[in-house]
């Protein structure tokens, strides 16, 4: 053991904990791929659902969107794309915005935007589905 380490009572493992990626550094990489895989069938289903809405009035559209299977698919679709697009936009911001405060501000706005859009969409579906 080096002299530096001998001064501390804490173990080397305890000293490095919380100071960087310890098998968690690939979290966003993994979630981007996980949601990408989920997005494929969900996008196909969502496109079919949206085509079904064409040429129908509000009552018919509301009935389709509010039916349980459609509502569940749309909720899954929105949840998956929300996670995917939040990570994707954060990567774009980190690539092009190098000013630290501007970068952090945009990353915060990114999360706010995604949460608002996802929650608003989910609210619309749930309102239709529960028929309130």
């Amino acid at each position: 053991m080096s002299r530096e380490a001998a001064k501390h009572i804490r173990t080397p493992l305890a000293r490095v904990r919380g100071r960087g990626a310890a098998r968690s550094g690939t979290g966003e990489f993994w979630h981007q791929r996980l949601t990408a895989v989920a997005n494929i069938p969900l996008t196909v289903a969502a496109v079919i659902i949206l085509i079904m809405l064409l040429g129908r009035n509000q009552a018919a559209a509301a009935q389709i969107l509010g039916s349980p299977v459609v509502a569940i698919i749309m909720l899954l679709f929105i949840g998956s794309i929300a996670i995917h697009m939040r990570i994707g936009m954060q990567v774009i911001i980190e690539d092009y915005v190098h000013d630290e405060s501007a970068k952090l501000t945009l990353i915060m706005i990114n999360t706010f935007f995604v949460v608002v859009v996802a929650l608003a969409s989910a609210y619309g579906i749930l309102k239709l589905s529960f028929g309130v």
């Binding site: 494929i40 064409l54 969107l65 794309i81 969409s121």
Partner: protein
């Protein structure tokens, strides 16, 4: 005190303008641009769902926008961006398995990405217009 001479103005590393545009490179750029566009396009999805949940008048406003010339151009672009980004994503997932990096394979994948996205978009719009009872 000796004057320090300003270093010659050279690019630090080669960037986009150095390279000849290639299909694989263009598809990579388009993948990011379509993702960026789709991000803001989710506002339209939220609008549709909130309008459908709000009643006939708000839904009619959404329909009016979606049926207008500008609305249709945006929705056509959105359809293409969605399909292109999805096919591009499948291409990335193939790459994640370590396949598809060969010189002919990557060119073929890039071309399939572009041609496939245009073809599927056109087919979806034909189906959509038929579902609405022909072009109006």
């Amino acid at each position: 005190m000796a004057e320090t001479r300003a270093p010659a103005e050279r690019p630090l590393s080669p960037h986009l303008q150095i390279y000849r545009p290639m299909l694989t490179m263009m598809m990579s750029i388009v993948h990011r641009i379509t993702g960026f566009g789709l991000y803001f396009g989710t506002l339209l999805l939220a609008w549709l769902l909130i309008a459908a949940a709000s009643g006939p008048a708000p839904y009619a406003r959404f329909e009016w926008f979606a049926g207008s010339i500008i609305g249709r151009i945006i929705l056509f672009g959105y359809t293409w961006a969605l399909i292109h980004h999805m096919l591009g994503g499948i291409r990335h997932l193939i790459w994640d398995t370590g396949r598809g990096f060969g010189p002919s394979e990557r060119e073929w994948l890039a071309a399939a990405n572009l041609i496939g996205s245009i073809a599927i978009t056109v087919v979806l719009w034909i189906v959509g217009l038929l579902a609405m009872g022909g072009p109006r």
